[in-house]
Amino acid sequence: MLNFVWGFMIIVGVVAAAFTGSLNPLTNAAVSSAQDAVSLCVKMLGIIAMWSGMMKIAEDSGLVPALAGKMSPLLRFLFPNLPPGGPAVKYISANFIANILGIGWAATPAGLKAMEELQKLNPRKDAATKSMCMFLIFNMSSLQLVSVNIIAYRAECGSKNPAEIIGAGLLATLVSTAAAVLCAKIFEALAPEERS
């Protein structure tokens, strides 16, 4: 995917620059963008390392599993077909909590395990079950409470108050997640039951 996107961006850039006669600015842009990317990463290191450190404490102190346990009423509503307390539900809640807290490296392994468990319960191996659809739709509705990356980027670009967008971001996240659940539940009601 990225091969095409990246290649396309560069080709469009060069072709457009040839037409508008801005090949020299293009060369300068290549040099300065590459430098910007590195200085951005260097400045981000502090914020991201700090946040990851805090999240590691949350994990080690049992806060993350405790939060996952608190999700069971929500999970029963989202996944009425899954056995409560089973491995699928366990991995799903771990994935949701990691996404909510913004610990990406913990979210993906748990999410892939969840898909594996959901696939075991799938009577037709090539088609998604309703539980799989709900899991991914919910997951892709943006769950993260605090977008640390965005705050780091804002700080690096000279914002006076980089964290000022947290509240608004959270509200917008609630909107997208509510829309996701509503939409998935409507499609779920219309879709036929899965058979082998």
Binding site: M1, V5, W6, M9, G13, V14, A16, S22, L26, A29, S33, A34, D36, A37, L40, C41, L45, I48, A49, M50, W51, M54, M55, K56, I57, A58, D60, S61, G111, L112, M115, Q119, D126, A128, L136, N139, M140, S141, S142, V146, I150, R154, C157, G158, S159, N161, A163, I165, I166, G167, A168, G169, L171, A172, T173, V175, A179, C183, E188, A191
Partner: protein, 177 residues
């Protein structure tokens, strides 16, 4: 909307306090955990650096060649109908495909318009309420070889659209535009 701003100021110190108290209560070696996690964070940033260099160069190309401006200008009549800033359209589309490519576009917008402008705040909120749908879907479904994804894509796109429109109105309300 005062409450929203208070919440923004409060959440990070609040999370810190909660995590430290929970760590001490459960007798975790908190400083060791912190440094271990910080190393992970370090690795994450170093890991995304090559991607970010490649994509920021590509975005720099699009910006310097004038292609990005042409696209925004072409879209302006359509997006103007709901007061959607046309400069944010390429970002909104790229966000669905790749988080590093969209980070490149996001930084470009911060640099050209400022992170504290209306556009800067709006795209910050929008990035918080959207997700890389195409990437996530392909990774998860491919891992279990499911090819018929049914209504997953449609629902995810609707949810992201709701997030984008929600972000627009919430930003206007929260920051008094």
């Amino acid at each position: 909307m005062k409450a929203l701003m208070f919440f923004s100021d409060f959440i990070i110190p609040g999370v810190f306090l909660l995590i430290i108290l929970s760590g001490l209560k459960n007798r975790v070696d908190i400083y060791k955990s912190f440094t271990e996690g910080a190393v992970d964070g370090f690795r994450t940033v170093v890991g995304i650096m090559p991607t970010l260099i490649g994509l920021m160069v590509a975005v720099g190309f699009l910006r310097a060649s004038g292609a990005l401006n042409m696209l925004s200008r072409a879209l302006a009549p359509a997006t103007g109908l709901i007061g959607f800033p046309p400069e944010a359209v390429p970002l909104a589309l790229m966000r669905l495909v790749s988080s590093s490519a969209s980070a490149g576009l996001l930084l470009d917008l911060y640099k050209t318009h400022g992170p504290d402008s209306f556009l800067g705040r709006f795209v910050s909120v929008m990035m918080s309420s959207t997700e890389t749908v195409f990437y996530t879907m392909s990774v998860y479904f491919m891992s279990v070889k499911v090819t018929k994804t049914r209504y997953t894509l449609a629902s995810a796109l609707i949810a992201n659209l709701a997030g984008i429109i929600g972000a627009l109105f919430i930003t206007k309300a929260a920051f008094g535009y």
